[in-house]
Symmetry: C2
């Protein structure tokens, strides 16, 4: 998808230590037309799987996941990181190391919205080390749902998440791949 590749080339900044600043169009300011197009593109790759639910983690996964759910016309469920008072006990729970904040992040999804009958597409803004996606996969496993595949907007190839997730044996789609060579970003 050329638009997102071009946008990363023109607007992303490399801050060092693997951190890419894309907050002008992905995770602080959001370009809605670009987001809609990304959702259509991600959905297209999983047309054949009869997805019943899109799953992501709050916060920055919500926009691309909503656009994908809009394209597929199936519900989106976003994993909460703090249990809201409206969440009933007995929720699915998994843990992931926080890439940008340090420490451990908990992810929670209510069994009301994910069951063994579901066919799940996992969406996130970044695929980096793959640990957040792995935590979401654990929740999908707890629910007994079928995992159709994984879609992300930006794959940080140099953090090897694709290798970490290879054992899942599901399609992994990224709309843009970013390599890091001598502290410079190369986008394809």
């Amino acid at each position: 998808m050329n638009t997102i590749v071009e946008r990363i080339r023109s607007q992303a900044t490399y801050l060092g230590q693997g951190i890419i600043k894309v907050d002008s169009f992905i995770n602080h300011q959001i370009d809605p037309d670009l987001t809609t197009a990304m959702g259509i593109d991600l959905a297209r790759h999983f047309d054949a799987c009869s997805v019943t639910k899109v799953i992501t983690a709050e916060v920055s996964g919500i926009a691309p996941a909503l656009a994908t759910a809009q394209a597929l016309h199936v519900p989106l469920v976003y994993a909460r990181k703090h249990r809201p008072i409206t969440m009933s006990p007995g929720f699915y729970l998994s843990e992931a190391p926080s890439h940008t904040k340090g420490g451990i992040v908990q992810l929670m999804i209510s069994p009301e919205f994910l069951s063994a009958q579901d066919r799940v597409l996992l969406i996130d803004d970044f695929l980096a080390t793959g640990t957040t996606i792995q935590a979401l996969v654990q929740i999908v496993d707890q629910s007994g749902a079928h995992l159709c595949g994984i879609g992300c907007v930006i794959e940080k190839v140099f953090e090897h998440g694709r290798k970490t997730l290879a054992h899942l044996n599901v399609p992994i789609v990224s709309l843009a791949k970013v390599e890091l060579i001598q502290d410079k970003l190369f986008v394809s």
Copy 2:
């Protein structure tokens, strides 16, 4: 807008102490078609104001605000509650009491994405006491931007946010109004 009103009538639960559980379609599981329709409806009310930016606060404001931004074809900026490492110093900052978690929540927006040239529509999922919206208004004021109006999905009439925000003298639109009479919800 009948769809959201009907959905609240059929799926919302009153948990006591002013808390309404709508996590099957608004703030844990999201119905994307309903969200798209809500965005179109919210946008329609502000057609005449030449909005240049939709502003909300993470987390649960993002979905309705993104749908509104999609309908208006203008960028969405969501205020962060925790400063990401990608956010430059010198950000706009305001504080609001947390309704559901206790304590104080900080809201932050980077000046890169909000300036005196902007015409802002504030969107949130709930209008309750109005304090979150007020904190966002403070940020809009700091930036010098023009405030076009306020849109929300569900107005908890019994928490009087509309009265709290009346001094702003801007249109306040809610898609559904919920009254609380003897611990029962009445939706219109």
